[in-house]
């Protein structure tokens, strides 16, 4: 059985800029592949080429062993569907949005209605059919976009940062839906993300893309481990630390992650570990919190960047931590670059590889 899709030596140039630099990749039928990489690494370009909406400058694409040429692109687009990072919604009802792909395929009305209903149930938007889609919240719109893709039951589902800038509830609905499509319907999934905490859990295999090149490939935990060992990894993926773990008497491990910082994680571990801390699990405060959380660090904000309705803070506290807070909190606490803050997170928030 040939792989579902093989990419051979893909190059994509935008003028002077090389977005993809000799990328070769195989996607097996039924797998979930994560494409990690920093912004600008070429993740979106790779997905757009796989989706057949962008042509590579050079290189070959095979679908189930058959080379995809100019004529095959339309056929490829009927089998693969991409969900874009920036949610695009047709200016009409939720129903017509989700039904679009079925309608252009000429499916009979009653079949369309049934499939749309199923898809909306999956993304937990039951009964939203007649609502004007553009009036929905950002998270709901992203779920409409996902429903619009899965309603087609594509063989290959390509997702570009599907949970970036979403509230945790929406993100988990989307993760669940993707997992369901993969496990129950056999949909092959390729998901590009710089968020290893959400989609990293869904995928089995991963590649790391940097400057248009695949630099790591393997199981998700292997790739993450190797990412964290790379110098570039530290700045690229947030809150990944490699350290030395020692078990403590109270059922946790103390991990020395360098820079004079020790963090406490659940589980008795000894030796070298990779620790991941979701930015959203880190509480930022101006004064030390009176809480049961095992980890409290004092630091200084070195960078503030917007990410949708939330704000990402980089905090130097021996090591650089990334915390994600709402814009409102940022304003209420009057935080800025240089502000002194406390970071608090639970031992159970830390994921050890």
């Amino acid at each position: 059985m040939p792989p579902l899709m093989s990419l051979r030596d893909l190059v994509k140039d935008y003028g002077e800029v090389r977005a993809l630099d000799h990328v070769s990749l195989e996607v097996e039928d039924g797998e979930t592949l994560a494409v990690f990489g920093p912004n600008g690494a070429g993740k979106t370009t790779l997905l757009r080429i796989m989706a057949g909406i962008e042509a590579p400058t050079s290189g070959r694409i095979y679908y189930r062993g058959v080379e995809v040429d100019g004529k095959g692109l339309a056929e490829l687009r009927r089998r693969c569907t991409m969900v874009f990072q920036r949610t695009v919604i047709f200016n009409t009802t939720v129903y017509k949005n989700v039904a679009y792909g079925l309608a252009v395929r000429g499916l009979p009305q009653n079949e369309v209605a049934k499939k749309v209903k199923d898809a909306l149930n999956l993304v937990k938007l039951k009964g939203y059919e007649r609502r004007p889609a553009r009036r929905l919240s950002g998270g709901e719109q992203q779920r409409v976009a996902l429903a619009r893709a899965i309603v087609l039951e594509p063989e290959l589902l390509l997702l570009d940062e599907p949970t970036a800038n979403l509230d945790p509830e929406t993100a988990s609905i989307i993760e669940e839906t993707i997992r369901y499509m993969n496990r129950e319907r056999g949909t092959t999934v390729v998901v590009a993300t710089h968020n290893v905490f959400g989609m990293g859990k869904v995928a089995e295999r991963a590649i790391l893309l940097m400057n248009g090149r695949i630099v790591e490939e393997g199981s998700v935990s292997d790739v993450l481990l190797r990412v964290s060992l790379r110098d570039a990894g530290f700045s690229m993926l947030d809150n990944i630390f490699v350290g030395w773990a020692e078990p403590t008497p109270n059922g946790t491990s103390a991990i020395d992650i360098g820079g004079g910082v020790k963090i406490e994680a659940l589980g008795k571990r000894r030796g070298r570990v990779t620790a991941l801390i979701p930015p959203i699990d880190i509480i930022v405060s101006k004064k030390p919190l009176d809480s049961s959380a095992r980890n409290v660090l004092k630091g200084r904000i070195v960078e503030v960047s917007e990410a949708g309705s939330t704000v990402r803070l980089k905090v130097e506290a021996g090591r650089v931590f990334t915390a994600q807070i709402t814009e409102t909190s940022l304003k209420e606490m009057k935080l800025n670059v240089g502000s002194e803050v406390y970071l608090t997170f639970k031992a159970s928030s830390i994921r050890l590889l």
Binding site: V88, V104, R105
Partner: protein
């Protein structure tokens, strides 16, 4: 002294308003004639300009070709062309000794339609190009990845741009309806033939027929306001 003049003017206007309403309610033939001709001439002009302008706007908004920016700049520059200027140029072209004099079009409704069509064409082209450009790439990619053919994707782009395009058409019609320069220069304000709302208002006011002018102005303003409101409602409807 000034107070007296003011109050006399206010009385004149009030009297004018009263007579104007009477004229409208009685279905005065000259009022009806000018109104219907205005609607016909400006409607036909907008229709003609749409047939030409919407496709041009779609192409400028969605395709890359040499000279695209120049063409765009050209239409943008024409957006504010003075109506009298355009009227004069066309007058010279259509007059007996002009290059198209043989067509004998000057002082006919056809000449007015042609002139107003050229006047509103830049509005339709520029607005449509903008509307299409705003949605083009994202909507096209989305349609295609959902399985649409090139043609289906283009139609979807147009449908997404439709609320803005329909506003452009109505704005164009309003500009044609409300302009005086082209209608006067090319129509000549001939009673029963080329007399429209704006030309009648201008002429009757100078003749001292204030109440007729006011009656026609009320009609003109009503049409423009009604259309603008309808356009807003339509846009909201189309945008769901």
């Amino acid at each position: 002294m000034i107070g007296e003049a003011c109050s006399r003017m206010a009385l004149d206007i009030l009297e004018g308003l009263r007579r104007a309403v009477e004229l409208i309610l009685s279905g005065d033939p000259s009022v009806l004639d000018a109104t219907l001709r205005s609607l016909y001439v400006s409607g036909a002009a907008t229709f003609l300009a749409s047939i030409l302008g919407l496709p041009i706007g779609m192409i400028i908004g969605s395709r890359e070709f040499p000279g695209r920016r120049l063409l765009r700049g050209f239409f943008n520059a024409l957006l504010g062309i003075p109506t009298v200027g355009l009227g004069l140029i066309l007058y010279l072209i259509l007059s007996r000794s002009g290059p198209l004099g043989a067509l004998r079009m000057l002082y006919t409704p056809s000449a007015m339609i042609l002139g107003q069509a050229l006047l509103v064409l830049p509005i339709l082209v520029s607005f449509t190009a903008n509307a299409v450009e705003n949605v083009e790439r994202e909507i096209k990619d989305l349609s295609k990845t959902l399985g649409a053919s090139e043609l289906q994707a283009s139609l979807t782009v147009f449908r997404e741009a439709l609320p803005s395009v329909s506003l452009a058409v109505i704005a164009g019609f309003n500009r044609a309806l409300a302009e005086l320069g082209v209608a006067l220069m090319l129509g000549g304000n001939i009673a029963g033939l080329t007399r429209v709302l704006t030309t009648t208002i201008a002429m009757e006011a100078t003749r001292g027929n204030i109440e007729l002018s006011i009656a026609l102005t009320i009609i003109l303003l009503s049409i423009v306001f009604a259309l603008s409101s309808a356009a807003n409602v339509l846009k909201e409807k189309l945008e769901g």
